[in-house]
Symmetry: C2
Amino acid sequence: MNTLMHRALEQAVLAISRNEVPVGAVLVKNEKIIAKAHNECISDSNPLHHAELIVISQAFYKLQTLYLNECTLFVTLEPCPMCAAAIAQARVGKLVFGAYDPKSGGVEHGPKIFEHSHHKPDVIGGILEKECSKIMTDFFKEKR
Amino acid sequence: MNTLMHRALEQAVLAISRNEVPVGAVLVKNEKIIAKAHNECISDSNPLHHAELIVISQAFYKLQTLYLNECTLFVTLEPCPMCAAAIAQARVGKLVFGAYDPKSGGVEHGPKIFEHSHHKPDVIGGILEKECSKIMTDFFKEKR
């Protein structure tokens, strides 16, 4: 599990060099990475282009499947409500995230999306929490 | 207001011919339509391709702006949690929707996204409710 979260962290590191908020994600099926991405909100001039939405869309394109029940999404930050709801919509089987996001998260915080959704993925939070949290803190410290 | 909802309904009608769930949307700035779309989940093999996400992304592409505060989104159905959260994320100024969706809506139902979001658009529901609801009922009746 840590190995795959490290791959998501690599994506977050890449994001920094493009001045994007350092959130990275990989989508995995049968222990194989199907898709990987980081936030692209700045490069794409689109605040919806979060890492999670990008990997989910990439996966649908690649797998040409209707749902992602057999996939696990690794992401460095607790998904926001939009991404959490997209994860439910895409029926992703399992969600593994790194840092908790009390301010803008939508899984353990805010609207707690999976308490209302038809599909409820298995959820594990706090994997490599320290590293995933530090990369965000450092990024915003630098910005100030 | 009804005129613009009629334009969204036209999009919903177009969706039927492509076997898509008939939800249509238009995004408006200064009374001018910036973007229009219907659900594209089937054609794009992507269950995230709801009408609202498509018009928001089109608008960002066209306007090259950071937020959509000055825009109004007209959509024939109460947005789902993913789309409602995207509307908040994009800071859409105003949301006007047609039919209510007690089963899968995320504005007046389910996680009631705007009760938790940082940005809260003005919301008007129930515009041309009968027509917007009928097109959905007829579509699913046909499917059975």
